[in-house]
Amino acid sequence: MLDYRILDWKLIGSALLLSLIGIVIIMTSQHGADSELMRTFYVRQSYWLIIAFIIFAVIIHMPPRLFDFSAYLVYAVSIILLILVLFIGSSRMGATRWISLGVLNFAPSDIAKLTLILALSRFLAYTKLQVASKRRLAITIIMTIIPMILILKQPDLGTSVVFPVILFSLWFWSGLSPWYLILILSPLASLVVASHIVAWVIYFIVLILFLLFLKPGVLFSVVVVITNLAGGTVLPFIWNRLADYQKLRILTFLDPGRDPRGAGYQIIQSKIAVGSGGVFGKGIFEGSQTRLEFLPERHTDFIFSVLGEEFGMWGALIVLILFGIIFYRAVMIAFRCRSRFASNVVMGATFMLLFQLFVNVGMTLGFMPVTGLALPFLSYGGTSLVLSWSLIGLIVLTDYHWQEY
């Protein structure tokens, strides 16, 4: 039996408070909605929280080794689910993301996030390959790209972006120098900078000086330079391959005013909501942007805007502090625990949650593009909540068994 007294209650409490705050905001966000279904979203979310908490409770009672051993198996299962969803999934708004189990819909892409963390953590924990060895990098890239491509096929650009983030954070946590990471990521930067020829030339000079200073090996340097050149030249090519709505999202992100009724409209209305809330907020049920439906996706992607409008800056800061507690505890647990696998899992989870928080909140505040990434714990959505609580379960489990190898 577990000794409940030594569980990380600060962590659990923070996650629980975030989930409850989420339910309250889901309720206020759909308070005046026309349909009964929308008005009772918060009830459904409460049931999901109970399910999520049960799964959390089950996880913390498991032997930690179980996840280590089964990592590849669950990874394989999740890949099968991702393939399945393309054939038997239910479509909404042009994307096939959900598998329907009677009353419940679940998104295999959420499960794949967890299983990728497990599989990568296991591989990186036990491999004898050098941190920067080509085989090690290649294998992990392949492991990441498989689910990512399947998710891009749905299509779900927003979720697929999370997968490389998991990969980079686990590379980093398993010892790869951030300089190296920067070099690996440099073709992406090249892609962006390439839109301006002078900037691109300057960028290239900096990149070569960087390579000369770091001396990462001739072959590696050549590959970096070539991929950077390619990155810079394929920009127009990639741009032309993007779907119209993706182009629009990027353009709208760069200039929200260009399409005030489309995606830009969402950003503008979200900024108005958050800004008009001020320091103290307009009060629960009183947010006019929320109540009068100016805010889009109030209970999912833009839930943070509702928080900002009705509870103001103090409400937003409380939520941020709770996230801060989770991240701080998680990093300390990952640092302390003796199992490299468990440590990797905790940090994979932490960076994934941090990335989602940053992208989602950044979107509602207008400095990140509209990606459709949910805010962990708060956004309406069962699988997302179960996933978040599973990650909390793994972190708490790791903490409880920190001395085990």
């Binding site: 920067a132 800004g275 006019s288 009068l292 937003a316 640092f335 909140v361």
Partner: protein, 605 residues
């Protein structure tokens, strides 16, 4: 490759740095929106939330001098559909059935007028009341179908009053640019012509505003509690100097002719009792959307119903102008009561041109008043040569011709009063002959007048030389009960001494009562009258027929001027019409209905 490794402690430190950066960025974002830009964004959220709804005031009614309605407001119903409340397969067919349209037409209208699912999409305007009654009684079987009422102007069509009522229409972009009209917004109604335009600021009242809360989709959530409603103020009612009955008599009289214009005026104060432009169009067509076919029909009509004849119709005054000529002769000392010119033998030789008199057998030797009585052209040819073009033009000018009368309806034309300066410009210096005066003195040639100018001149003759400004507005009744009466304004005085005016009055008397008068047949037992006939030569067709009359002779109280286009001699056509109108006036007066109704003292206070 160890330089690519990084210690656990460094990794932890770096992780905390990254987490801190993320939180810092989010905090900066929050601070920027919620503190720095808070006021601006709060205003934007209020603008999102509140919709300003104008409350349209009742536009003032317009009555005749006795309170009979000339312009009224009537309710007009528009049937609309609220798409968020429609029932598929029921609403559209029901709507089509109700309005007698087919479903594809209904769908077309929905597509065309769609604003939002929650806002009424208008389908048909000016739906008859019985349809609205059906809708009201059985509203549960018409899901999502609603109607709105608006007030539209109703002009009393049988009055033929469009020449002075004008009409209203939606404010145009150019109107909005006019800084005097800052109170208008796009979609407001504004007077476009006539009384409606002249007194628009009095008639329209003050628009109110109401704030309602709306959702992003335009659904009305009810009146805003924080913002107070600003009630509208109704427009003032106008009482015109027009007499409904005289106006009707005029309309009836001119009915059998193609085109013409008429005016009845009180010489003692300039009040216009009747004003007719004939033919005309129905001003009510401007209250709803005008079908293009109807508009084209009106525009291409050869009788020019859109020409506002009293103020924009310009005609040679013909022999009616002989009073001015004669007056000028007396004033300039060229003639006196008993002086004569050479005998009229049916024409007059001037240079190499022979100027005919209207009577080929000639009038013989005449005195001034008899020259008026018989309208002898030859007498006036000789007078004109002594008077000269510029002196004559000067008298025309002093009698109010070639300039606007300042009547209280807009866009008056001023006509043309030619003088040597004008001819120099038109034909070149010394390129024209002095003989032109022979035309001008009998009111032919280039001189052009409108009927109001001629009427005000005859009013002056009938009123000892004092000309009151012709006007239509009698009084204004404000919604708060205040009454503002129009006081007659003396416009100018005729350039004639009393003695001259007496002679002119004797002339007009002889036209009716004289042995040889051109309108002898108008003599009657009911009332005395004087007048002057005129036959304006019209190069484009039949002559225009003029008659200007004054009655009764001992103390004139009404001046009636009639012009019938392309109708022939003044004595044959216009004079009998004027007679009918005067008869209507005196009949009404005798039947004890006070025609000149002045407001009693109590009303003023």
């Amino acid at each position: 490759m160890d330089r690519f490794k990084i210690s656990l402690e460094s990794r932890r430190l770096l992780t905390f740095i990254i987490i801190s950066l993320v939180f810092l960025l989010i905090f900066i974002g929050l601070f920027n929106l919620q503190v720095v830009k808070h006021k601006e964004l709060l205003l934007k959220s209020e603008n999102n939330r509140l919709r300003v709804v104008p409350i349209i005031p009742r536009r003032g009614r317009v009555y005749d001098r006795e309170g009979k309605v000339i312009i009224d407001n009537r309710p007009s119903y528009t049937v609309s559909v609220i798409l968020s409340e429609q029932v598929k397969g029921v609403t559209v067919p029901k709507l089509a059935e109700l309005l007698g349209m087919d479903t594809s037409m209904v769908r077309k209208r929905i597509k065309k007028n769609y604003v939002s699912r929650y806002q009424a999409t208008p389908i048909k305007r000016d739906v008859p009341f019985n349809v609205i009654a059906v809708l009201e009684e059985q509203n549960s079987s018409y899901p999502g179908i609603v109607y709105q009422m608006e007030r539209v102007r109703q002009y009393k069509n049988e009055l033929n009053a469009e020449s002075f009522t004008g009409y209203v229409g939606e404010v145009s972009e150019s109107d909005l640019k006019n800084e005097n009209e800052i109170d208008y917004r796009l979609g407001s109604l504004i007077g476009k012509k006539g009384i409606e335009k002249q007194f628009d600021n009095i008639l329209r009242g003050i628009e109110g505003t109401e704030y309602e809360e709306v959702t992003a989709f335009g659904q009305n959530m009810g009146k805003s509690e924080e913002k107070e409603t600003n009630q509208s103020v109704s427009g003032a009612d106008l009482y015109l100097t027009i007499d409904n009955d005289i106006q009707l008599a005029c309309t009836k009289a001119i009915d059998t002719f193609c085109c013409g214009t008429m005016i009845a005026m009180n010489p003692r104060n300039g009040e216009i009792l009747a004003l007719i432009s004939y033919p005309t169009y129905d001003a009510n067509i401007f209250s709803s959307v005008i079908p293009e076919s109807l508009w084209n029909e009106i525009r291409s009509d050869s009788t020019h119903p859109l020409l506002n004849r009293p103020i924009n119709g310009l005609y040679p005054p013909a022999s009616t102008a002989k009073l001015i000529s004669l007056g000028a002769g007396f004033e300039e000392g060229i003639i006196n009561e008993s002086s004569t010119f050479s005998s009229c033998v049916g024409g007059y030789q001037f240079g190499d041109r022979y100027f005919k008199c209207w009577k080929p057998s000639g009038h013989g030797v005449l005195k001034g008043v008899n020259a008026i009585e018989q309208s002898c052209d030859v007498y006036f040819y000789q007078l004109g040569l002594k008077l000269g073009i510029d002196e004559l033009s000067n008298y025309y000018d002093l009698c109010g011709f070639g300039k606007i009368t300042n009547i209280d309806i807009p866009n008056e034309s001023k006509g043309l009063n030619p003088n040597s300066e004008y001819y120099d410009e038109r034909y070149g210096k010394n390129k024209w002959t002095r003989g032109l005066v022979l035309n001008n003195i009998i009111g032919q040639g280039e001189i052009l007048v409108n009927i109001i100018q001629l009427a005000q001149f005859f009013c002056g003759v009938a009123n000892d030389g004092i000309v009151y400004r012709p006007h239509l507005l009698k009084k204004v009744l404000y919604p708060d009960g205040r009454i503002q009466e129009t006081t007659p304004i003396e416009s100018f005085r005729l350039p004639f001494k009393q003695k001259t005016i007496d002679i002119l009055m004797e002339g007009v008397r002889l036209v009716v009562e004289g042995e040889h008068g051109t309108a002898r047949f108008l003599q009657n037992d009911q009332f005395t009258l004087g007048g002057k006939t005129g036959t304006a030569q019209n190069p484009h067709g039949e002559n225009h027929s003029w008659f200007a009359s004054v009655a009764p002779l001992d103390n004139p109280e009404i001046v009636v001027v009639v012009l019938v286009e392309n109708a022939g001699h003044g004595s044959e056509v216009a004079a009998p019409l004027a007679g009918k109108i005067l008869k209507a006036y005196f009949n009404k007066k005798e039947s004890n209905l006070p025609v000149v109704m002045s407001a009693s003292k109590e009303e003023v206070n």
